[in-house]
């Protein structure tokens, strides 16, 4: 990661809200597409070694994205996102909930708000800042999100350790 790019992650526990700010070394249009087009989302949203696949997406207010996070063992965890507000290249909001493979949501879910703004980077080229807030109705739900990822994360960390070990031998 480019160290000059902003990344902050804070949690307001009483307000049950997570705040994330991140800058990307790309123009606004491209970053907007990366967050709103399923074919790009599927390339990065699942932390490796997990993968993501979208069954369908209809990016409009009231439209949905139905997708799964897939573990290396092939286990699928489905979720539905419903878009509740869209201001092109500026902001979009959605409601995210786990679901079964037949699209039946498991409530409560979480409310997501994304805001995009383009800024001038350190050397004059364009940088896009994305601010995300996630409101979770229950802590248990957030714990479930983690449970799904922990195994995958452990594997990717051990991959990294192996890689570092290999590199340092050279």
């Amino acid at each position: 990661m480019n160290k000059e790019l902003l990344f902050d992650f804070t949690v307001d526990k009483p307000a049950k809200t997570v705040f994330i700010n991140r800058e990307f070394d790309a123009g606004l249009s491209l970053v907007w597409d990366a967050f709103t087009k399923a074919e790009i989302l599927d390339q990065w949203i699942a932390p490796k070694p997990m993968t993501s696949k979208t069954k369908y997406q209809d990016f409009k207010v009231g439209g949905k994205r139905f997708y799964a996070m897939i573990s290396p063992e092939g286990q699928e965890r489905w979720a539905i996102q419903e878009y509740t507000s869209i201001t092109p290249k500026t902001n979009f909001k959605m409601y995210n909930a786990f679901a079964d493979k037949d699209e039946n949501p498991e409530l409560p879910g979480s409310e997501w708000d994304h805001t995009f703004s383009e800024q001038n980077g350190p050397d004059g080229h364009r940088v896009t800042k994305v601010s995300i807030t996630i409101y979770n109705e229950s802590l248990e739900r957030l714990e479930r999100v983690l449970d799904g990822f922990t195994q995958g994360m452990k594997m990717s960390l051990s991959n990294l350790e192996n890689l570092l070990a290999t590199l340092s031998q050279k």
């Binding site: 990661m1 491209l30 932390p47 229950s138 802590l139």
Partner: protein
């Protein structure tokens, strides 16, 4: 144990946050705690009951008095899983950085 309360719910209340703040410094008896609040003793003990149910507060008998103290490990637990959550986002965004730079190269 089955009907465990939500920890966010426990710390969402300002009185309960104040109780956590007080007993984090030193363990206290119910009477000493109640003196810090304008509400009734019953109200304070109800808050303590909720905190105890979440395993955030433990009680110890010392002679004739009961002392409440904070379960530091439980508080750390909250921070630990939040840190894991942060790591997920870090990984995710590093992947996005790679995707963005690939797309930019393709466009050139």
């Amino acid at each position: 144990m089955e009907t465990r309360r939500d920890i966010f719910q426990a710390i969402a209340d300002p009185t309960r946050r104040a109780i956590i703040g007080l007993i984090a410094i030193q363990s206290m008896t119910p009477n000493a705690l109640a003196e810090h609040f304008n509400t009734s003793r019953q109200a304070v003990s109800k808050h303590i009951k909720i905190l105890t149910e979440c395993d955030l507060v433990k009680q110890e008998q010392q002679g004739r008095e009961i002392y409440y103290s904070l379960e530091i490990e439980k508080m750390k637990e909250i921070d630990k899983w939040l840190e894991q959550y942060r790591k997920i986002w870090e990984t995710r965004f590093n992947q996005l950085d790679n995707v963005l730079s690939t797309i930019k190269k393709q466009k050139k």
